[in-house]
Amino acid sequence: MKLRPAIGIVALVIALVAAQLVLRAMDKEYCLTQLTMAIYYAIVVIGLCFIMGYAGQVSLGHGAFFAIGGYTTAVLTTYDFSRFEAAAWGRALKQAHVFVVRQDMYGSDVLNAAPWAAFVTAMAATLVIAVLIGYPALRLKGHYLTMATLGFGLIVYKIILGSTLTGTTDGIVGVPAWSFGTVAAISGKSAARVQNYYIACGIALLVLVLLRNLVRSRVGRALRAIHDHETAANAMGINTARYKLKAFVASALLAALAGVLLTHYTGGVNPSEAGAMKSVRYVALAAAGGTTNLWGAAVVSIVLNFLSLRGWFGSYDNAVFGALLIAIVSLAPEGPLKPLGLLLRRFSGRWLAGGRSNDGAA
């Protein structure tokens, strides 16, 4: 009970460090950029895996939540607020370091929102929107929830595509790095590549551990109970509507978090992030990892997104993920890693027998 999660974490940490060292040895450290991006996308996938596997909610709106995070950050950190500097609130925000002066790509001074302020705004906006979408949508069940989130995603995509504030089809570029003092910064500079790789790893691992704690707790049990038998869960004293909404919002917030981070990392965001195909891709990856397997979803998602970002799938990119979803749904609805996981568990159960007996009747 105590050992198993530690083994999972240690294995993943070793794999991530090994990936960096191998790429360095092969003189292909530039690949870390795509790996870092894949890790940020994996945060969306594990958040989605959480609601799909443990709460039974299939959302096709996670691309939109990612985009809401990314675009909020991109707009606020690139929009020139200097015209409001004369106003009292503009001055106040500048004094509070919510607005900061920086130089844009052409070397002229602009007044933008600080990354942390943009982050807070992005999270708050996502919270509000996820509640507004989730509250009515979660009264629907099964496919209807999926359809509602798909509709929401399409609307967000169209708004982003049509609005000059979000740069229409071009998206937004020139998003500044997010610096934490002089110690670290989320930025796409090639000098900071290795550092950023480890920052992404750290954040993804943290999310993974927190979610894992969550699903194995009172809240996680309540969600699985709702998923299994909603009426009985309600009759056992669980406020089912509230829990479903909270899980949905938490998952949406993770998607937005990934959007914020990746936008700082790549220095921009474009409308394809909000596209329906992106949402389908997240669902396919969560399913491919095994929907009740957060680790599996993380690993599968990192590997496949990395290959996709390296251009392995060429012009068949979207088709690969579509085909993957079809294959998973028809061949292995519980995820291809399930048989493998059972094998591993049996194997590890043997030499962890001591730790495991605490698991059952103590």
Binding site: S217, R221, G237, G360
Partner: protein
């Protein structure tokens, strides 16, 4: 003192009146049974009391408070737990976890605490696990605690459901046909368990078809037919009630009472 008061409750589905102005009360410390032929409205009445159905008219008072129209989870929190006619366990999770879900409304760790595994959350989790294991032991399934609920036999599922309902720490326990699907020895054990539960201070209201069980353990019996009350009283009074004999018990009842005497 009346723990539960049902006052002229009515509910219909389309043109069919499932529960027709039924009134009764359950006193603290009783075992009370509701009997009646299939379609008499027993389960509908249970669903109204536990909040799954809204009454069209009439009132349900629990511990003096009107609970008619409240949500099931609010009623469970108020101290009224139930089991279902078809055991409704959470089949994907273990027996232990099923019973721990029952403790949900008596515990408080939320999203943040659970993510961060705060000391308070760990303490609560340990306490939940211990008391859930104790309740599983109470219904005689200690060796099955780690099994997935879906792997249990039917009779065992009923017992887990009972343990789960007890985990909500109820003052009143509603059992919907707890003996259906059980064999005779399991039914005997169930009868003893229900009496043990009553003796521990939990009032019991049950719907049951097994007449020997009902007659053996009940303090009072309510008889429904076509949604309406046709008799109410002690097991002895019910056995001798001409209405009941005519409408419902018929010759079966004589077998039951004969086997009870022997």
């Amino acid at each position: 003192m009346a723990l539960l008061e049902v006052d002229t409750v009515r509910r219909s589905f389309g043109g069919v009146v499932a529960v027709d102005r039924v009134s009764f009360r359950v006193d603290q410390g009783q075992i009370k049974a509701i009997i009646g032929p299939n379609g008499a409205g027993k389960t509908s009445l249970f669903n109204i009391i536990s909040g799954l159905l809204k009454p069209e008219s009439g009132r349900v008072r629990f511990k003096g408070q009107d609970i008619g129209g409240r949500k099931p989870y609010q009623i469970a929190r108020a101290g009224l737990a139930r089991t279902f006619q078809n055991p409704s366990l959470f089949l994907q999770i273990s027996v232990l976890e099923n019973v721990m879900v029952g403790q949900h409304c008596r515990t408080r760790s939320e999203f943040a605490g659970c993510c961060l595994k705060t000391p308070g959350q760990r303490r609560e989790e340990r306490a939940m696990r211990d008391s859930a294991l104790a309740r599983i032991d109470y219904v005689g399934l200690a060796d099955r605690a780690a099994a997935p609920a879906g792997a249990l036999a039917f009779g065992q599922r009923r017992m887990v459901e009972l343990a789960r309902a007890l985990a909500t720490e109820p003052d009143l326990l509603l059992l919907d046909e707890p003996a259906s699907g059980l064999n005779m020895s399991e039914t005997d054990e169930l009868g003893q368990l229900i009496e043990k539960i009553r003796d521990s201070g939990v009032t019991v209201l049950l719907v049951e078809h097994d007449m020997s069980l009902v007659m053996n353990i009940s303090d009072e019996i309510l008889v429904l037919d076509n949604g309406a009350t046709i008799a109410e009283g002690s097991p002895l009074a019910i056995q001798n009630d001409p209405n009941v004999i005519a409408v419902y018990l018929g010759s079966d009842f004589k077998h039951a009472s004969a086997s009870q005497k022997s």
